[in-house]
Symmetry: C2
Subunit: 547 residues, 2 copies
């Protein structure tokens, strides 16, 4: 050790006064102290101030601890975007437990797998999902105490009590808790905060573990990237069970903004809530954007609503339709393993001068690392050497960041494989442009190699989405004796649109290199995972089976 | 250890991919990558893009390492707000060394003390300060290599070369460095980043040590509190040698805003730069605000300029004059030990309805902890018990935060005394209002106890500052046989104002409790420290010696 280091270390160790474990729980405590009367949560006709919200979360923590859940044990929640799930984002961790928000679209068998894998001690379930929850518990064979939440805003929510199982009513459970409960911060900021299962298209779900530190930093990254402050009103169009709502569950609270809950995403309801509460920010997959711009023409919103989207690049046609309605769209990129957003397509001033098509192609890029992400590279999957920034050479996106998961629960092999050489390997293939912006060209498995040429199915899909008669499209490889593979397009037309395969192929040939145009076009509904992701592996199977 | 913790820890240890030491150096690297062509620094007719700024900082780091400075050793800089000092905020740490920005108002003897105490290896000095630097080195007896910076914007900057000492020209020094230098992040985010000596009114200066972690977090706290983004233009009216410019040296870079340097704070120059560069943000002590609103009437600025002030509450009269000019003032509170701002007088919506006087009294409060500060309390100095939130009971402000210093260099006793029981003791006496806002009533030593009643000298000063004929005022205790102590006011009148002591006393009696009015009024210039702080200990001596 160098002498200088000794001088700057001796007697200068971390102390309780100057080293506090980073945790998003601090956000709620502060917002409740600084803005006690400000509206924290709105849900239909109900709303809670920050002081009330904080008290409910402390009650929940107290009740969870009172129920015998030990620090480091798992509390699972199966609920849509209702207040109970938001409260669980604080109350569970305040009891020292780990939150596992379960995807509501999963089947009982998968949920049973999760309950067992996560070793769930307590299961909080929205009444709408009690049947699947009960089935899941039966399959799992676990002895789990279930807390049932009845949404007073939900007409026809029926009680399951008296079924002879271990079910307790959520509000009664909460009332048992102490609103002044002295919750403790995590002993170490690396302690687990939450557990999110990746839906995955193949194999068993993997449990992605988040730390308090990572969630704290990613939340603040969101605050800065998306410009959230105390005047912000955030509408929950993104499921909170997706990467803890991309950590906006904590970010909005950090800024003391207002959460607007939303049980079901219905177009009219979204527009109504935007106007009623002056919504300023929302997030969602491109399918949400698609929904907003489809249907009856809406008047332009009286104020700009910032929308962050991710999962896939928004097609130019949707971007322009969104802009016309008064939405300002930002394209983010991330994965469950990266606490949601890791990259953001940062707007550059000179883009103002571009036409819509050009802007659209810029905005389709995944972009650059957000402020909390140390590094993003596009590199060779074997050598980890960065690819040239030429906009054409493909490589794998890799991330290094405090906002990368601790790893996969009870899956050392998968953790080791994904966190290699100081990088998290995303498995997404991309190019890097001269300006440093990353653009995904394909998921590793989705690339189509035809006649020795790499074809990006995304590029074809972008061309297809620009067709006014196409609602949804997905392109996969179809085995071909001559070419090896050819692109095969599966298409759901818009209602009332009369499309032909020839017309679609011609449309593409006019827009992308001719050899990239689909050789096969199938009109059908697209199979999707519970999270709404198109299941390309099923389409690949169908493409293979085409005579 | 509980079983749950094992499950969430095993195989989930920190790795290079998911645990990166927090350091503000990351900000520059990212902004140079994302906004390479954007203007990072403006200094008179010169300016540098983020790509250029980053290269200069890497050159500096390379040159510092090349000069034999070891990681953990100190590089001192004596310069006003010119680019070299900004570059040192990155280049020094990129070489693994510790930055010691020296107050330019200090005398040679004090600087000599600092050079020896900090064990300075390299001394970068602006040509204007070469004489005092050379004297300081002579007094210190150290063998220090000096790098002299010649400001091309500074008319009459003369070279000191050929004096036979170890002086090297800064630009030549820089040219020896490698612009692609592979700097290394700190091994541990707790490593020392900078060293700031508190000017103190008594005793030897204390060396406050900052960590990379603390600086990173406080910078981002500033970004969020002050709303800095890539469109922000920050004018350097606050000395960078004050708590590293309250960490705005790093915060502005984090947001990829533009730094506008300023060698000397001259009123006309400030207004010119605001208009020329579209300045959006600046900071400064109340004396800066005072300067801006004094002198010839200015036209209202064409855009709002956010001004953060601290060190003392801005008097209402100055607040209203600032508002009239187009400045929006935010009141911050902090100390060198807290990386600058720790508390912020967060604006509450309901204050909009208040009249100027009422708003002024709200804004005079030090406020609440900013988002990165875990906690602020007002407590009994002995028992650490919180005082009631009644707006009248005095206690000591205490802070707990990742943004509290590592401690005082080579001063374990002072470190232990200030970081006690999990709190940093500020030594500032305050009350806490029912809404949780903290308001300083006096520095521990500045309280006047008269007839058993505590009198805040600040309250009297606020009354005095509201008088149109008073430019500056300071109140201290004067020993009194009957009352123990009485308030004694030292006043500098505005030019042309004819004031009498009786008139001043009457003015106060109308505004504050009569017993709090000064019993003695002295018209004179006020003695100040090198940082512009009024030296109350000298005034106390004078008050004692009054016959």
């Amino acid at each position: 050790m160098v002498l200088g280091f000794v001088m700057f270390e001796e007697g200068l160790e971390r102390r309780a006064a100057n080293h506090v474990p980073l945790t998003p729980l601090s956000f709620l405590r502060r917002s409740a102290a600084v803005f006690p009367e400000k509206t924290a949560v709105i849900h239909g006709t109900q709303s809670w101030s920050y002081a009330q919200f904080y008290k409910r979360c402390r009650r929940l923590a107290s009740a969870i601890a009172g129920a015998g859940v030990q620090p480091g044990e798992t509390v699972s929640v199966l609920a849509p975007n209702v207040p109970v799930l938001l409260e669980a984002h604080y109350g569970v961790a305040m009891a020292g437990a780990v939150l596992n928000a379960v995807n509501t679209r999963l089947d009982a068998k998968t949920i049973a797998f999760i309950l067992n894998h996560a070793e769930t001690r307590l299961f909080i379930v929205d009444a709408e999902y009690m049947d699947v929850a009960r089935d899941a518990i039966a399959i799992s064979g676990r002895n789990v105490t279930t807390i049932e939440y009845h949404d007073p805003e939900q007409a026809g929510s029926t009680s399951s009590f008296g079924h002879g199982d271990h079910t307790v009513d959520y509000e009664s459970f909460l009332q048992k808790g102490d609103p002044e409960y002295k919750w403790r911060r995590p002993a170490d900021e690396w302690d687990a905060l939450s557990l999110n299962y990746t839906s995955g298209t193949t194999g068993e779900p993997k449990g992605v573990v988040y730390s308090h530190r990572g969630a704290y930093l990613n939340s603040l990254g969101n605050v800065m990237t998306f410009g959230i402050d105390a005047r912000s009103v955030y509408l929950w169009t993104l499921p909170m069970f997706h990467c803890n709502g991309w950590t906006y569950t904590w970010a909005v609270t950090a800024a003391a903004g207002t959460h607007v809950c939303l049980r079901q995403i219905e177009r009219d309801r979204v527009f109504t809530l935007i106007l009623e509460h002056g919504v300023t920010h929302m997030c969602g997959a491109p399918i949400i954007l698609n929904m907003l711009v489809s249907g009856p023409t809406e008047a332009r919103l009286p104020h700009t609503v910032e929308v962050a989207t991710g999962g896939a690049a928004p097609p130019t046609s949707i971007l322009s339709a969104m802009e016309a309605l008064g939405f300002s769209v930002t394209h983010l990129y991330g994965l469950t393993e990266s606490y949601g957003p890791s990259a953001v397509c940062v707007w550059q001033e000179e883009w103002e001068a571009l036409n819509l098509q050009q802007r659209g192609s810029r905005m389709a890029r995944q972009g650059v690392n957000h402020i909390m992400v140390e590094d993003i590279i596009v590199a060779d999957s074997q050598t980890f050497e960065e690819t040239p920034r030429d906009g054409t050479t493909m490589g794998e996106i890799m991330l290094r960041s405090n906002t990368i998961m601790k790893g996969y629960l009870k899956n050392g092999a998968a953790t080791d494989e994904s966190l290699q050489n100081g990088w998290f390997r995303t498995g997404d293939l991309a190019v890097r442009h001269a300006d440093g912006y990353v653009e995904i060209k394909d998921r590793s498995k989705d690339i189509i190699i035809s006649g020795g040429e790499n074809i990006s199915s995304l590029e074809i899909e972008e061309a297809l989405y620009s067709h006014p008669g196409i609602l949804e499209a997905a392109v996969v490889a179809r085995p071909d004796d001559k070419w090896g593979e050819t692109p095969c397009a599966f298409i759901t037309p818009r209602e009332g649109a009369a499309l032909t395969a020839d017309e679609i192929v011609e449309w593409c040939k006019k827009r992308i290199a001719r050899f990239k145009a689909p050789k096969t076009v199938v009109f059908d509904e697209l199979p999707k995972t519970s999270t709404g992701k198109i299941q390309k592996h099923l389409l690949r199977e169908r493409a293979r089976s085409l005579s």
